[in-house]
Amino acid sequence: MNHDINIKECRINCFRESKVPGEFMLQMRVPGGMIDSKYLDLIQKISKTYGDGNFHFGTRQTFDICRIKYEDIDKVNKCIEDYIKEVEEGLCDVDMDLVAHEKVGRKVNTGYPTIGARNISACIGNYHCICGNINTFELARKIEPIIFPSHYHIKINISGCPNDCNKAHLCDFGIIGVSKLVYHKERCIGCGLCAKICESHATRVLSLNKETGKIDKDECCCVGCSECARHCPTSAWTRSEQKFYRVILGGRTGRQTPRTGKMFLNWASEETLLQVLGNWQKFSSWVMDYKPEYLHGGHLIDRAGYKKFKEIMLDGVHLNPECIVAEDIYFNEIEYRSNFNVKPLSKHKKAGPGA
């Protein structure tokens, strides 16, 4: 086989090269992992016509169709044009003509314009789950136009509650739905079930006061999971109607420096959260000196340092009064490659203009 294929362009177009020469895998975005099941017909059609009939659930909740011949990429892109329009423009209000907020003039039937900002994944959230605090895929659909299309890489995982089934702790910008709990003392019968549940399921911040027969709470360490509200027999614990979010920053997997993310924001309102994310393009372009090269979002934070990250990400943001921000973050890498953190400063990559 004699191929002359610009692999990098294919990849940006969301077609990843296969170990089999000349074959590619299409990755279709499903923001928040939720989509009308009618699109499964389309997946089947593409898979049977251009692939080998199989499809894979991408680890970031994309529809992955393998075994697509390089020669068929244009035809496949034509097939997914309506899907892109309906999902990205229709559901998420994305302007497909922009890349990182700049007009590029996308042509029809050319498929996805960027792969940098990865599909936003989400657990099922309060659409179904008895633990969920937020509607996760609706949030994903609101974030989609902020980060996509863009060549700047970012992985966003949304979890509906602090159980974090969708691993907000293992991505660049993890979002966890949390609740401010309201205690209606006059409805509390002092059964102590919430305290028992908090002890076994959460962070042990509730205790039954033997003197008053009411519940004492360590407000500071409440993770906002709402297990107390879920178990209370009298509705003495209820969620606040307003939704809040915790942001876990800089987690990642990877060969070199896997690590769990750390708390960046807590009790952020939706408005605050979206405003902060609105600065992501600005931050990324500053770190890369306006040259988007392939680098994971978490590494951008490492290059700039948390303080600089915070400065740019919070620029012009009106924080809701409940929101608290990490003063500093100390990441703990598992050092797969020895001396990663102790190498001389001169060997560290630099951030910002002239980097």
Partner: protein, 346 residues
């Protein structure tokens, strides 16, 4: 005599009634449900007609108006005490037939049972008049007809809500003057005469059978299923169990108040006594106690009705999907089994 008022007129009427009465109705509380973005409906004092949630069954029963989950009954200083104050205004409650019938059970327990009148219950009960809300919704958790609790004439006014207004039937002469000048209507409240869900009440013929039921393995199922949260009994319109608790102000134990709090026979320490004995240590034991209390023991003692009006709130509130109607049907089958076993032993 019946009338139809526009919503505007009904609001004016409510304003006028509020001068004399405290008015309570089921009210929807947004996002206060057990799960995220779910609501609850509970009884609260209202000022506006549009606060009344009449389309759905309330999560919590009407009994909370008379016996709130928590109430201070008296204050004490050394050997002197003073009863807590309550409003002297009479109370009007928008209520369904099942909830009104449940008050008969409540009153039987609080007034007269054991030759004792519960003053704190009585002072609320005496102030109450009911506005009957006609039931026009179908819920498969309702079984009021099976419990003979679908009909009542214990009401002063009856209402039917429509999109453009409210029909009122005036039964109590005290309210006649409020309706002068409003157009007449042919409205007479209809009662639910059939439920989708029907329950056959078990016949427990004698003590021997009762003892066999007590020892039956059928209750073991609930050891695994029931989490003993007590939500069923808090949502129950007939349950009356409460506990009292003295709240001491500061470090002087001579000064404080006594509170009454709802309690639940389903909570694991309900039958805990001084010395550490506990008579019902498993969820199955407690379930058996509740079911037999409601569908046998109460009637055995008071003769008039069972201690259930078929409101079905316990079914809707149970986080473990335990249905009281399904449980009673299981009990029926168990009785049948025991009877067959007895017949074959003869």
């Amino acid at each position: 005599m019946s009338y139809k008022l526009t919503l505007k007129e009904a609001q004016k009427l409510l304003d006028k009634l509020s001068l004399t009465y405290d008015i309570y109705a089921p009210k929807k509380l947004k996002a206060q449900g057990r799960y995220s973005d779910t609501d609850i409906i509970k009884y609260e004092k209202i000022k506006n007609i549009d606060e009344i949630e009449y389309r759905e069954k309330s999560t919590y029963p009407m009994k909370e108006v008379i016996s709130p989950i928590q109430q201070t009954i008296f204050y004490f200083t050394e050997d002197k005490y003073r009863e807590s104050k309550v409003s002297t205004k009479p109370i009007l409650v928008f209520s369904r037939a099942c909830d009104i019938n449940a008050i008969k059970v409540q009153t039987k327990i609080f007034i007269g049972n054991g030759g004792f009148v519960d003053y704190y219950y009585q002072r609320m009960y005496e102030r109450i008049k009911f506005i009957l809300m006609e039931c026009d919704f179908e819920s498969d958790t309702c079984f009021c007809v099976s419990m003979n609790a679908n009909i009542t004439n214990n009401y002063s006014l009856a209402v039917r809500f429509e999109d453009d207004g409210i029909h009122f039937e005036v039964k109590d002469k005290d309210f006649t003057n409020y309706f002068k000048g409003y157009p007449h209507s042919s409205f007479a409240p209809k009662f639910v005469m059939e439920n989708k869900t029907k329950v056959h009440i078990p016949e427990i013929k004698d003590r021997n059978m009762l003892n066999k039921i007590k020892k039956s393995p059928m209750w073991k199922e609930y050891d695994k299923r029931c989490i003993s949260c007590g939500a069923c009994t808090i949502a129950c319109s007939t349950c009356t169990c409460f506990l009292t608790r003295d709240l001491i102000y500061g470090d002087n134990s001579e000064v404080g108040e006594r509170r009454r709090l709802s309690s639940s026979c389903q909570i694991d320490d309900f039958a805990l006594v001084a010395g550490g004995g506990n008579y019902r240590t498993t969820a199955g034991d407690r379930m058996r106690y509740k079911v037999l209390h409601k569908f046998h023991d109460y009637k055995e003692r008071f003769k008039d009705s069972h201690m259930c009006v078929g409101c079905g709130r316990c079914i809707e509130r149970c986080p473990e999907y335990i249905s009281i109607t399904a449980t009673v049907e299981k009990l029926n089958k168990e009785i049948e089994r025991i009877e067959k076993e007895e017949a074959s032993n003869v």
